[in-house]
Amino acid sequence: MAIIDDHLKVSDLRFRFAGQAADLFHVEHLTLSPGQTLGIRGASGAGKTTLLHCLAGIEPVNAGSIRWGGQEISSLSQSALTRWRQQHLGLVFQDFHLVEGLSALDNVLLPASFNAWRPASILRERADALLKRVDIWSPGRPAELLSRGERQRVAVARALLFEPRIVLADEPTASLDPENRNTVSRLLLDLAREHGATLIVISHDAALLEQLDGKLELRDGALHTLESAHV
């Protein structure tokens, strides 16, 4: 499964929850260029997270097409989707979702354990470097002893371990205080741009959205364009 190019192309995407008559959303058309950054905002319950899950291949769609770099992900099997996510996708969650009981370094290296018994030394070096880059200087510290800001920074580092070309972040700064919000926003954007990754962020953080290439609003079941995204 080769990535031909890193363009996101969404066509006639429809999603509805089981048992519901009406679509939660219908995205007629959405494309992103490689390395482009996009923010999506919307009212609570509009379907932002569900849309992100569809783009990540986590939520199956009812109709339509989602192509990442020419690869149609909506028709992939579960195991193929898992491999695709391992190789191409970095995910950042609102609540960090680090594994307590593991150190910061081991949390960053966790994805490496999904397909190898021991992480390769190059991955260890990359994890060390990422932690320093996100300003974590005690890599051996257990996750449960990190502050909220530190945990989210570790989560960002984990998402970037395999240098994914796609980074999806769901409200990455919502659980943070203003100072940490700014730090994490800056790091997420800087790292995504350094790696040339296409970044989609769900957020209500105006300061974060302001720094992105484009902004969309999910409202009344449709994406309403704001800037620099094709809808």
Binding site: E59, S79, R85, F93, P111, F114, N115, A159
Partner: protein, 405 residues
């Protein structure tokens, strides 16, 4: 190839108390079963070993079990005496290597004094003293390996339970003394705590004829029939298996009963085995309940961790990886608990054996048998199979649903 252990170990680390309690519960459940099985075997082997020196027992008609308990295990109780006539008959019967009277009733510092002949003390020449020699005249004693008396020590018999008279007690304590002349090698049974003396002394101290003419200091057979008192038991050493059966038949009469202690023990073991089976069943039921309770608790825990597993899958873990995490977390706990229980059960059996030995006087050899291993391995195996249930259940939940949990 993947490595689920980082997540497994992290979960154990995070829930140390719960892991410890779970391990302890499983271990205790297994240990109970192991201890029951091991202790029953130890009791059976220890008691059988104690009866090794008693090929054939002759006593007065009555309870065979009582005769065996009294004479083989020195559980001293008042039992009817078999007559001197029977003693003389057994001593003179064909096919008998020796017929040893076993007469008791006195003790020294709690160690029973048993009147017998030197043939019994030496087990027909099979034993040699580890110190000193066997008794050869009246007033001499040979002690078992567990009696804390040195060669040359003087002892005075204390009256047994049938001496209620103070005057008779004084006669006992002042009129007779024994000198220790030898020590027997360890037999690892209750006889290690016995003091063996010539049976004539025991008869004399109880104001009975000694089997010899008055004034005679002879010990051992041949005795004079008219002067031969009765004894609680006669330990007969046959010259052959055939002779043993013949003697058993010969001395089953209105005047006496004859038995192989092994026959009585087999009956006791049958009962013991039934009790063991029942207790094993109860222990197994306890283990099953504990494992079930543990699994239910773990299942509830895993359901509560649905989001954690969904996140793992969302960031690239395969369903096989998540399955292994859950299966390993349960399996390692159950297998670990079973292994710990095996060790704990063996340790408990070892400690119990020591404690019981001090109370009943013979050694219970604790050992690990295949039954205990089978118990632990079976429990672990069943646990490993049942562990697939929470693992499979967690996979049924879609990732998106788990992320919202």
């Amino acid at each position: 190839m993947f490595n689920p252990f980082p997540v497994v170990i992290a979960d154990y680390r995070r829930n140390r108390l719960l892991v410890g309690i779970t391990l302890a519960l499983i271990a205790i459940a297994v240990a109970i079963g192991v201890a029951v099985i091991a202790q029953e075997r130890a009791l059976r082997q220890g008691s059988a070993r104690a009866a090794d020196d008693f090929d054939l027992l002759v006593g007065a008609p009555g309870s065979p079990t009582q005769l065996v308990l009294t004479s083989v295990y020195l559980k001293l109780q008042a039992i009817p005496l078999v007559s001197g006539k029977v003693l003389a008959a057994t001593a003179g019967a064909p096919g008998v290597r020796y017929a040893a009277p076993i007469a008791f009733g006195d003790n020294h510092d709690g160690y029973p004094i048993v009147g017998t002949i030197s043939d019994f003390a030496s087990r027909g020449g099979e034993l040699s003293p580890t110190a000193g020699r066997f008794f050869s005249k009246r007033g001499e004693a040979v002690v078992g390996a567990g009696v804390p008396l040195s060669i040359g020590a003087q002892i005075h018999p204390e009256h047994g339970q049938h001496h209620a008279d103070e005057a008779e007690k004084r006669v006992h304590e002042h009129a007779l003394s024994y000198t220790v002349v030898g020590r027997l090698p360890a037999r690892y049974n209750v006889w290690d705590k016995a003091i063996l003396v010539p049976v004539e002394d025991v008869w004399a101290v109880h104001d009975l004829p000694t089997g010899h003419e008055a004034g005679s200091v002879r010990i051992g057979p041949p005795w004079t029939l008219d002067l031969l008192p009765g004894v609680p038991a006669i330990a007969v050493k046959p010259e052959s298996v055939g002779a043993a059966y013949a003697l058993r038949g010969k001395f089953r009469s209105n005047d006496s009963m004859a038995l192989f202690p092994a026959e009585v023990l087999n009956e006791l073991y049958g009962t013991l085995g039934d009790v063991r089976d029942l207790m094993s069943l109860l222990a197994l039921a306890t283990q099953a309940l504990v494992v079930l309770a543990v699994l239910l608790a773990l299942l509830v825990g895993f359901l509560a961790r649905a989001r954690q597993f969904a996140v793992l899958r969302a960031i690239g873990a395969s369903s096989a990886y998540v399955f292994c995490v859950i299966w390993l977390e349960v399996s390692v706990l159950i297998a670990g608990g079973a292994a710990l229980g095996l060790a704990l059960g063996y340790g408990a059996s070892w400690a119990l054996s020591g404690w019981i030995a001090t109370r009943i006087g013979f050694t219970l050899p604790p050992s690990m048998g295949y039954e205990e291993l089978l118990l632990a391995v079976s429990l672990a195996g069943i646990g490993l199979i049942i562990a697939t249930l929470p693992a499979l259940l967690s996979l049924r939940q879609p990732i998106a649903e788990g992320l919202k949990a």
